[in-house]
């Protein structure tokens, strides 16, 4: 047996602060490489998609290959506009957090396409089970910025009555579930929701997103197992933005060849997609949604992307990764790439872009101003204090009534 020597290893990212990042090692397939299978293709026949990378936009900003989703210029422009608006919203909210108007915030810089393109590819009646980094999807669904802001500052117009941390939106009217602070829990719930839809004979499907780090939670396995067992009409997304908080995806992913490859062991199609390629994300999501709606069951999509900023306002990424790693990221910026594509198509230009950016900035500023008229976290007004004791149960039982009285409200 030779000299025996079991040894463990702790994965480390390729680059730490001080290193010069470079991603030539990735060796990903080029855009247009993969064929688009039939929507009811046997999962066993399309395993290569789990190890590859579906891309549509090439380096010249052309849409190439089988997966080009054929979105109309209007749709593409709508997508670009939503991504830009999301980015402006994020920028403003971060600034407001820095000046202590918010207790907490989380940006989605670099990941806008993952949320926006996917949601555009779904029906409005499909239920979204997001994590905390899909604000783009909420904006795509038509949420008013002022409502989002009012939630984030827990003021009197906060539809969650001040009960939740910022960015933990809930919007039933927009078929947006409820962001939970607990990682991964929504993944199996989405499966259950989609099953109920099918049982009722409805066509709505469910779509959920979790992060690369979150795939390590048991709930990931729960969701995959349920989806596989019951052939649930659900689209399950892993947003692989390379990082959890300070942990590189190799800690939760281990030696996994990809996150999409986890689907293989459940007999579910797993597709890795360039998450910074709006067209590719839209195409893959549409494929999965059509499959689900057509009775083909679940799909696991890994969106390969990069978290452009800090995890949240509570961490400083320069402590654990090179400051310029985002710039070195080889798959570019989803906004820039879609913008270039639209310009190439002659459907957009630099001037329009700047005008839209300015419009977004203004809209965000106006919304913020309006939001403040409903109060702030620090100064109120908030939802009336007695509401704190409501919605625990349908009816208030004696012990909560007593507690409310004890508080004198």
């Amino acid at each position: 047996m030779g000299k025996a020597e079991p040894r463990i290893s702790v994965p480390a990212p390729a680059f730490r602060p001080g290193d010069t990042p470079g991603f030539s090692r990735l060796g990903l397939p080029r855009p247009g490489h993969h064929a688009r299978p039939d929507i009811l293709a046997d999962a066993a026949e399309i395993r290569d998609l789990a190890f590859g990378l579906v891309g549509v936009l090439d380096e010249e900003a052309n849409a190439v290959g089988d997966w080009a989703p054929g979105l109309s210029p209007e749709e593409l422009r709508a997508g670009l506009k939503t991504m830009v608006l999301t980015r402006e919203y994020d920028n403003r909210m971060l600034k407001m957090q820095r000046t202590k108007r918010l207790s907490f915030y989380m940006k989605s810089l670099g990941e806008e396409a993952v949320a926006v393109a996917a949601t555009q590819a779904l029906d409005a009646g499909d239920m979204l089970f997001p994590s905390y980094r899909q604000q783009g999807a909420l904006i795509q669904r038509g949420a008013e910025l002022v409502d989002m802001m009012c939630h984030c500052i827990s003021n009197s117009r906060d539809n969650l009555k001040g009960r939740q941390l910022p960015v933990h939106y809930t919007r039933k009217d927009l078929n947006w579930f409820s962001v939970s602070g607990n990682l991964g829990t929504q993944f199996p719930q989405a499966v259950g929701w989609s099953m109920a839809s099918a049982l009722k004979g409805e066509t709505a499907i469910a779509c959920s997103w979790i992060g690369d780090g979150t795939t390590a939670e048991g709930d990931f396995h729960a969701a995959m197992t349920l989806a596989s067992t019951y052939n649930a009409p659900v689209v399950l997304n892993v947003v692989n933005n390379q990082w959890a908080i300070s942990m590189h995806n190799s800690i939760s992913g281990g030696k996994a060849p990809s996150f999409a490859a986890k689907a293989i062991g459940y007999g579910i199609p797993g597709i890795r997609v360039d998450g910074n390629d709006y067209l590719a994300v839209a195409a893959v999501t549409r494929w999965a949604a059509e499959r689900a709606r057509g009775g083909g069951g679940p799909t696991l999509i890994e969106s390969y992307t990069y978290r452009g900023e800090a995890h949240s306002t509570s961490d400083d990424p320069s402590k654990y990764r090179p400051k310029d790693e985002y710039e070195a990221w080889p798959l570019g910026d989803p906004v820039e790439r879609l913008r270039a594509h639209l310009i190439k198509l002659g459907e957009w230009d630099g001037e329009q872009h700047e005008a839209w950016q300015a419009e977004c900035k203004q809209a965000v500023a106006d919304a913020w101003k309006e939001a403040l008229t409903y109060g702030t976290l620090e100064e109120g007004p908030h939802a009336p204090v007695p509401t704190m004791f409501e919605d625990v149960f349908t009816a208030q039982p004696w012990h909560l009534r007593r507690q409310r009285q004890e508080l004198g409200v």
């Binding site: 539809n159 409820s178 719930q189 259950g192 109920a196 625990v392 349908t394 004696w398 012990h399």
Partner: protein, 338 residues
């Protein structure tokens, strides 16, 4: 009226609800074709089909998450956890999700899920088939917790849970499935046939949540119990000749403080029973609240007669179980306290 044992009463409750409300579903490990390891869902898949009554993967967290997802989409799932000892892989979904969704969404989403699970010892199940983990769940805001002591209440309470818009955890004292059990393992198993609470109507009826049942009126001491311990209390009081007022709590959250406090104010003495370990058991909550609400009336310290703070042992089952002798001793001590 039909006679049912507790299993039949529970099956009947689900049958009634499955028949009258198509939003009701039942699932869990071995629940479908087989009808559950205790047979409580027997016949239901055959009757309602495998899209309403079905097997689920062995992952209790998945089962609860699936139920919650379905419930937020209009269903009223009844999820079975095979043994209460195995509910803990689903604990996070219960505490962080199922019981919070109404609150955190400010009422936009609700999750009317009923979780059924057999609990308690007395069947030589050892430490992993005997737990009474109810106390953990009474500390979770937003969860209804119920435990019946007889077939009639079992059916009526289960229907109340299924019909409730709140998530509910329904404990089934497995030692009572086939008959009442007074804590004496040497007596032959008795049957629900001869018990008035073994008479169970066929159709829909409810036993209201949050309302205790005074199963014996008395003036010397109040005994607060639930599940199996109700029967032990009755036998111990009789054996000891104590005129105890025995309260079957039936619902743990919200518990019926009015009935309990009124009784203790009358008797001035109180003994609390449960099978679960003592420290931070549900008896602690009851004692804390009773001493606060009935301070002027209390003539003796409130006693707790409970399981010990150890895992449930196999061979020493009857040294662990808070049986008649221990209950009788506590009654006596409490009644004689001066």
């Amino acid at each position: 009226m039909p006679q049912m044992n507790m299993m039949q009463a529970l099956t009947s409750a689900m049958d009634v609800k499955l028949a009258e409300d198509e939003r009701v579903l039942a699932f869990g490990e071995d629940v479908g074709y087989f009808g559950g390891v205790f047979g409580v869902t027997r016949g239901l898949q055959e009757k309602y089909g495998s899209s309403r009554v079905f097997d689920a993967p062995i992952n209790e967290g998945a089962i609860i998450a699936m139920a919650m997802g379905m419930a937020t989409n209009g269903m009223r799932p009844i999820a079975e956890i095979q043994f209460a000892d195995y509910i803990f892989p689903g604990f996070d979904q219960i505490i962080s999700e199922l019981t919070r969704i109404r609150y955190r969404s400010a009422g936009q989403y609700t999750a009317p899920v009923t979780i059924r699970t057999p609990c308690g010892g007395g069947i030589y199940g050892g430490q992993t088939h005997s737990m009474s983990p109810e106390a953990f769940f009474t500390h979770i805001p937003g969860l209804v917790v119920a435990m019946p002591s007889n077939p009639y209440d079992a059916k009526g309470l289960l229907i109340s849970c299924i019909e409730s818009d709140d998530p509910a955890l329904f404990f089934e004292p497995k030692r009572l499935y086939n008959g009442p059990f007074d804590g004496d393992p040497n007596k032959p198993q008795s049957s629900w046939k001869d018990h008035p609470k073994g008479e169970v109507p066929e159709g829909n009826y409810t036993v209201p949540l949050g309302v205790a049942d005074v199963v014996r009126e008395g003036s010397d001491v109040t005994v607060v119990a639930y599940g199996t311990m109700v029967h032990v209390a009755l036998a111990a009081a009789e054996a000891e000749g104590v005129d105890a007022e025995i309260i079957d709590l039936r619902t743990l959250i919200p518990y019926d403080i009015d009935t309990v406090a009124r009784s203790v104010q009358k008797t001035g003495r109180c003994v609390i029973l449960h099978e679960a370990p003592r420290t931070s058991g549900f008896g602690a909550e009851l004692a804390a609240q009773i001493q606060e609400d009935c301070f002027y009336s209390l003539e003796a310290p409130i006693q707790r007669v409970t399981g010990w703070d150890t895992p449930y042992p196999h061979a020493h089952e009857w040294s662990y179980f808070p049986g008649q002798e221990r209950v009788a001793r506590a009654l006596k001590k409490t009644v004689e306290f001066a």
